[in-house]
């Protein structure tokens, strides 16, 4: 890995947002917003450059301080990382634009909201750092950066229910990261290295490794609100401000999933067992059904959306069992792996776009109506057709109807289910879709229904609605470059040679 071309972009991707965020602290509320928005645009531009660079050069690295691993820390920007960075940039820049107009429309309420900008840039830097990190301990620091900023953003509205939710979220986040760190300690103790690449080569199966895998997975499951550790998510995501809810559900929870995917595929491949995969898949399956059902039962729009996140994250967990074959089954080639992880990446992207759009639309509705009881959607189709469209399109992607990103993810997931022969996951996927259709169309049905009472209706700036609609469309547009994107991803360590070499070693599937 040391031989890869070096680039200074990874360092700038982390450093620059933090520098801009620090700079913005010197300004008062209006200035913070200006600097913050400029910083977002700049960071998104950098992400674009990074994407182009990786597309041309392949994976690049940045050896921090010139000290090579295992002593030093190495930033690795491979296709997987840059796809996540790009997704964060795309979704992030839309949410930034939304936030800019959103806070301007509510300027009179509270100048405190201007803290959004530095916190969001810190969060963004943390996410970039997480995607680029190639070091177990550095990953811990980045998830802490993300955790603190995310909770701080979640409580920004200052309402008491958001404070309760925020504290719960924070305690869960700290517990999760401490559990993760415990696993890191044990791995360091047994190998003397923290570098993911080196660990993938030297980590040996054993009781300690299995235990480390267990606590790390536990910690990350708490962080990504995997069932049954999802309890903190719905209150935290539903009580935050609209742009914050969008950020939290679209991007923040994906960070933990990213680490989980990387670690399972690159580091722990050798000690994964069939039963372990099935267990995490079961958690995902229960989350899909339970979350969708809970979403269906809620009466508040933001709670519906938040519970839906629990379900959609469940799909992400369901890819893990598909990566591990049953004992005794030997795969001739690595083809069967591809659909599963493709499903994961696409589920992440589709959910990011769709859920961000969904939460922004909810914010628009709250702005217009003052509350988010689902009855407030009545007659939305004629009052705010654009927002209705956004909800419809984002909802369709969540359900997984063609030709959305969500459809592509479910297609690949089902394909993985068929190819791996683990057919018992198929009914869960379909039931999840069906239940999702239930609550999405419940919302749409209300949007088309006539208004019952004459509630006050404040007009909402069109710019806000356009942003939400564009994000929703984004969840469809991501399908078009699918073939190129998958080829691109296959050249990354995690999914190309990484998984295959583990499989050739014979460890995959037969433990």
């Amino acid at each position: 890995m040391i031989n890869l071309p070096t680039s200074s972009l990874p360092a700038i991707l982390v450093g620059l947002p933090i520098l801009v965020a620090t700079l913005s602290l010197f300004f008062r509320s209006r200035g913070k917003a200006v600097v913050g928005l400029l910083g977002s645009l700049l960071t998104a531009g950098l992400a674009l450059i990074a994407f182009v660079e990786v597309a041309q050069l392949g994976s690049v690295i940045h050896i921090l301080g010139g000290w090579e691993p295992p002593l030093g820390i190495l930033l690795r920007m491979d296709p997987l990382a840059v796809v996540f960075i790009g997704m964060t940039a795309l979704v992030g820049v839309f949410i930034s634009l939304f936030a800019w107009w959103y806070f301007r429309a509510q300027e009179s309420t509270n100048g405190k909201f201007s803290l959004f900008w530095p916190l969001w840039l810190f969060l963004w830097a943390g996410l970039n750092g997480l995607f680029l990190s190639n070091d177990l301990f550095n990953l811990f620091v980045t998830i802490e950066v993300i955790g603190i900023c995310a909770v701080a953003l979640a409580v920004l509205s200052g309402k008491t229910d958001s404070l309760f939710a925020g504290l719960r979220y924070l305690l869960a986040a700290i517990t999760g990261s401490m559990a993760y760190l415990f696993g890191v300690a044990l791995i360091y103790g047994s190998t003397g290295t923290l570098d993911l690449g080196l660990l993938g080569q030297i980590l040996e199966p054993g009781k300690t490794t299995t235990f480390a895998l267990l606590v790390i997975t536990f910690g990350l499951m708490v962080k990504m609100a995997g069932f049954p550790f999802h309890f903190w998510l719905p209150p935290a995501h539903s009580s935050a401000l609209a742009p914050v809810s969008a950020l939290l559900s679209a991007l923040v929870v994906k960070g933990a999933f990213y680490i989980l995917l990387r670690l399972w595929a690159e580091v722990f491949g050798i000690s994964l067992t069939y039963a372990g995969g099935q267990l995490i898949g079961l958690a995902g399956a229960v989350a899909v059904i339970w979350g969708s059902w809970q979403a269906f039962m809620q009466t508040n729009l933001k709670l519906i959306i938040a519970h839906s996140s629990v379900a959609q994250l469940g799909y992400l967990l369901m890819i893990f069992p598909l990566l591990i074959l049953a004992p005794g089954v030997v795969a001739g080639s690595a083809d069967w792996l591809s659909p599963a992880w493709t499903a994961g990446v696409y589920q992440v992207m589709a959910h990011a776009f769709a859920k961000a759009s969904f939460f922004l639309s909810a914010g628009i509705i709250i702005m217009a109506q003052g509350h988010d009881h689902k009855g407030s959607l009545r007659d939305l189709a004629s009052r705010m057709p654009m927002t209705t469209m956004a909800i419809g399109i984002a909802g369709v992607s969540l359900i997984g109807l063609p030709p959305s990103g969500g459809f592509f993810a479910k297609w690949m997931l089902l394909k993985g289910v068929f190819l791996s022969g683990q057919l018992w996951w198929a009914p869960v996927i379909l039931t999840g879709s069906f239940l999702t259709a239930g609550y999405v169309f419940m919302l749409l049905r209300l949007a088309f229904a006539p208004a019952r009472d004459q509630e006050p209706f404040r007009p909402v700036p069109h710019s806000l609605q356009v942003v939400a609609l564009l994000l929703a469309l984004g969840s469809f547009l991501i399908v078009f470059p699918a073939e190129n994107l998958i080829q691109f991803l296959e050249s990354s360590e995690t999914f190309g040679s990484g998984i295959e070499s583990i499989m050739e070693g014979g460890a995959y599937g037969n433990n």
Partner: protein, 498 residues
């Protein structure tokens, strides 16, 4: 296969782009909207005519966009697809005119016409899909684009109907999805017409293939309204008349029927399907649905509901024709796709005109209306005769071929079903004719909408007359080259030559 043409894409774009533009217009820009509508509809018909001509010269129009390995977006022109696309495009043009008249002054017309255009995009997409995945994509797109049309009125009844409609179609779509993914895993990407792929697999994967067949069939049967999956159809009658007309004649139900044709003829192949005994259950369910729908129709007083149950019954003729092996029955099934379409759309147009002009929704109110609206009810009468199967109207041709096909294969019970169904058709349709033409009006007939000397607005009247005449012409000139029958026959013959 290697040639790539964007013409099929243009055909889709000719309704998709106007639809999107309409969505961007303001509600009050009605002349721009009308222009876009008509321009799109005419463009679509012309493009299809162009492609049809080219196809007859032996040109190949294929558009492939690869989404992922094994997941292609394929548009491909073949005769069956063109046949269905032509039907959709022509009827869309006519229905657009009708809808402009029907909805004049109504609310949310921007939304209506936009989704109307999307709906027809989905329908032509289904016609031109070159493989199962693309078909599925448009199949689901159709569900979504028709939903706002079903709930268009926004009343609680409409909204509830929309919910029922969605539960059925999304459920069907989900099952179809499972089948499609399973098929793509077992057999890889299958273009329509590549029946040899499945044929080569039946020795190994017979059970899986049979299960997948029935999964997909069940998914398609929802839209084709085959018993017991038909209940959504009568309920979604609350939609405005042009929607019901298009839904019943072309878009939704035909998508299901067309899908069944594709599944049996172009994916599994008739021989394979017959060899695996997959078709008998389909025949049984279709036959039962034919009788069941007719019986239910007998007891409906609501005009549109009676028509809806009639649709349930008539659609299964297609499924039945598919289920019986043989050139003649296949011809009957394929040609009924068109014949049922033009006849049923005539009926719904007529129902819409009666409802809009006089406010009558029930059959019992319609006494003497024929004398006030001779053209409308005349067209309606032609369609009725067709439905019953009287020569020389189009419906007779379909039934004739279906019957001949049944006799050819020795399935005499099918002939009984056809005869029984015809009798029932007569029993529930003729009373309408009788009331309309031969009963005295109960009260003074005062039209709610007037337009000069005509019995109703020209934009509504012309479509109904045109489709009425078309149903007559399709029967009378059935033997002429280029008629629906001749094309259907050619399709069927090609199938069996393979």
């Amino acid at each position: 296969m290697e040639t790539t043409s964007i013409l099929p894409l243009l055909i889709l774009g000719s309704s998709f782009i106007p639809g999107t533009l309409i969505l961007l217009l303001r509600e009050d820009q009605s002349s721009q909207r009308t222009f876009l509508n008509i321009f799109g509809a005419v463009a679509k018909v012309s493009l299809i005519a162009l492609v049809f001509a080219g196809y007859m010269r032996g040109e190949d129009y294929t558009f492939v966009f690869s989404l992922a390995p094994g997941l292609n977006f394929t548009l491909r022109v073949d005769l069956l697809g063109l046949f269905f696309a032509t039907l959709s495009a022509v009827l869309w043009l006519i229905t657009t005119l009708y809808a402009i008249g029907y909805l004049e002054g109504g609310r949310h017309r921007r939304r209506f016409f936009a989704f109307f255009s999307y709906c027809i995009t989905a329908s032509t997409g289904i016609a031109l899909s070159g493989d199962v995945v693309t078909f599925f994509i448009f199949y689901e797109f159709l569900t979504l684009s028709t939903y706002p049309l079903v709930v268009h009125l926004g009343t609680d009844k409409a909204v509830n109907a929309g919910r029922t409609y969605l539960w059925y179609t999304i459920g069907g779509g989900t099952i179809l999805f499972l089948g499609v993914v399973g098929l793509s895993v077992i057999a890889g990407p299958i273009h329509f017409g590549q029946t040899e792929i499945i044929a080569s697999l039946i020795s190994e994967n017979a059970t899986q293939l049979a299960i997948l067949f029935f999964l997909m069939l069940a998914g398609l049967a929802v839209k084709a309204a085959i018993f017991p999956l038909h209940s959504w159809l009568p309920i979604s009658m609350v939609a405005p008349a042009p929607v019901s007309a298009l839904l019943h004649a072309v878009a939704v139900v035909k998508a299901g029927a067309f899908g069944i044709i594709r599944l049996v003829y172009d994916v599994y192949g008739i021989e394979t399907a017959g060899y695996m005994n997959l078709l008998t259950p389909l025949a049984v369910f279709a036959a039962f649905t034919i009788i069941y729908g007719s019986v239910r129709a007998l007891f409906q007083d609501d005009f549109k509901r009676r028509l809806a149950f009639s649709t349930v019954s008539q659609l299964s003729y297609i499924a039945l024709g598919v289920a019986i092996t043989g050139v003649l029955s296949s011809t009957g099934a394929i040609v009924h796709l068109v014949h049922q379409g033009i006849m049923k759309i005539t009926m719904f147009f007529a129902a819409g005109i009666v409802a809009e002009t006089y406010g009558f929704y029930k059959i019992s109110e319609m006494n003497g209306i024929g004398r006030r609206m001779p053209l409308t009810m005349g067209a309606f009468a032609i369609a009725v005769f067709g439905m019953i199967g009287l020569p020389p109207v189009a419906g007779f041709i379909s039934k004739w071929y279906l019957g001949l096909g049944a006799i050819e294969t020795g399935s005499y019970w099918v002939v009984l079903v056809l005869l029984g169904s015809s009798a029932l058709n007569a029993a529930y349709f003729l009373p309408i004719i009788y009331r309309a033409w031969f009963c005295e009006p109960v009260q003074e007939l005062v039209p709610r909408r007037r337009s000069g000397r005509l019995e109703t607005q020209a934009l509504m009247l012309i479509p109904v007359v045109v489709t009425g005449l078309l149903s007559l012409a399709a029967g009378v000139f059935a033997a002429v080259a280029g008629s629906p029958l001749s094309i259907a026959r050619e399709i069927a013959e090609r199938l069996y030559l393979l």
